[in-house]
Point group: C2
Chain length 258, copies 2
């Protein structure tokens, strides 16, 4: 069993209520990471939906979670038609840590035109990229290979707040939609290239759009922050699979303290 | 009284419950527009929050709303600290039409660094731009001046799915945070430049991040769709005020039928 599946097991506690033990393996400092939590949420909401592909999920991170027991309380919002909608709260010790809302569809049943006005990021292949130092626990969950031209902060230099990076599960777990939810918030914030590894850049809200189930292999990502306003910033992500298909878009609102 | 304020009056019906009469003035065909609904939601959630600036709001559009009476059912999610969180459903005839979740803060109390890696869109001034034909009711709510180089569809031509446009309330209403929620989904979808004015491109989910309260005058916008996957598409918006400040970012997931 792969480690994400081992540490995301849901125990039914009642109708639309699940128990889970949050692992510390996805921790950044003492706090389970937002990507791990949104992937758990994506898994729990699917239980309340006929359609199983999480086309868009938004999470609001209310209070830090901690490793240990948690309850996922799912609310079915709408069923029927092209999209189902559901909501889930992750609760620990009576306190809601985060809340998610999602729209689910069945990608194979959705049809319409396809085109793109941009392609995958230009970057060297994984073997010519730079592995992230394992300074936080979560870094050991993934193989992540950074384009050396986007790692100014690792050399004590300054550069644009953009990371270009290859990522995959370290244990060989095949990619699925949940992998993309994990990858969407698995890495340091790209503003580190501007301000250095300045610690905590907490996510206020994270939205991930799924476009396709990713093929096996590395997922190629670009994470980019263009606008920082009194510490409020967006990080926009594009995730591409090994076939060169766009598989997800992400955007988070986060906060960089002064 | 300005028209948005006239048609967004909330009548308290009980704790965290408000009545509103949805106007048909923001209609696209028979359906009140998503920008009007997210602005109403933004107003109602603020009632449950100590902080009043809607830093991020996400809406899920479940079923079309109709002009007429509606109830807004607000759920306070979290109060205290830098951010408050709330949720609201817009319900008509016992059926939930859309659901929103938001994080509120007080912009004047949030501090941190500021920088940007991109500026406002390059485009001619409003007087050299092209007014949108008033083919749908909502178009009469705004003065909108399109960069003629981004209006291929109006000439029966094809071009990139990007609009550059100046927008303001037609009745002189001063801009505020609610204006940005309105403007974020007030215009035709930019994919019209690729596929022609093909009718209905319904919003599945819309997220708006507020960065600053906009100055008076036109708000300068860029709306751009880069990726269309079997009809699933994002429209990303940047909104800039007359001082040249980034005031909001938006992203929606919408569906273009084949």
């Amino acid at each position: 069993m792969f480690e994400f599946d081992q540490f995301s097991g849901l125990t039914a506690l009642g109708e639309h209520r699940y128990g889970v033990t949050l692992s510390d393996r996805w921790n950044v400092g003492p706090v389970p990471n937002g990507g791990y939590l949104i992937a758990l949420a994506g898994k729990a909401m699917a239980e309340a939906c006929t359609h199983k592909d999480p086309l868009t999920i938004t999470g609001h991170y209310l209070r830090p979670a901690v490793a240990g027991p948690a309850e996922l309380v799912v609310t079915p919002v709408k069923q029927g038609g092209t999209f189902d909608n559901a909501q889930v709260s992750i609760v620990q010790a009576g306190s809601e840590r985060c809340r998610f809302i999602g729209a689910y569809g069945t990608l194979a049943q959705i049809s319409g035109p396809s085109w793109r006005e941009a392609g995958p990021p230009q970057m060297p292949p994984p073997e010519a990229c730079r592995e992230l130092p394992k300074t936080v626990t979560i870094a050991s969950r993934y193989e992540s290979r950074f384009d050396p031209a986007s790692t100014a902060w690792l050399s004590g230099e300054q550069g644009p707040s953009e990371f270009r990076v290859w990522i995959r599960h370290v244990d060989g777990r095949p990619n699925d939609a949940l992998s993309l939810l994990l990858y969407a918030d698995a890495l340091p914030p790209p503003v580190f290239n501007r301000v250095g590894p300045s610690g905590w850049v907490p996510t206020v809200e994270l939205t991930v759009h799924l476009r396709a189930v990713p093929a096996p292999g590395f997922v190629q990502c670009r994470f980019h922050t263009r606008f920082v306003t009194s510490g409020l910033l967006e990080t926009d992500g594009e995730l591409w699979d090994s076939r060169g298909e766009l598989v997800a878009l992400s955007r988070q609102l986060a906060r960089l303290r002064g």
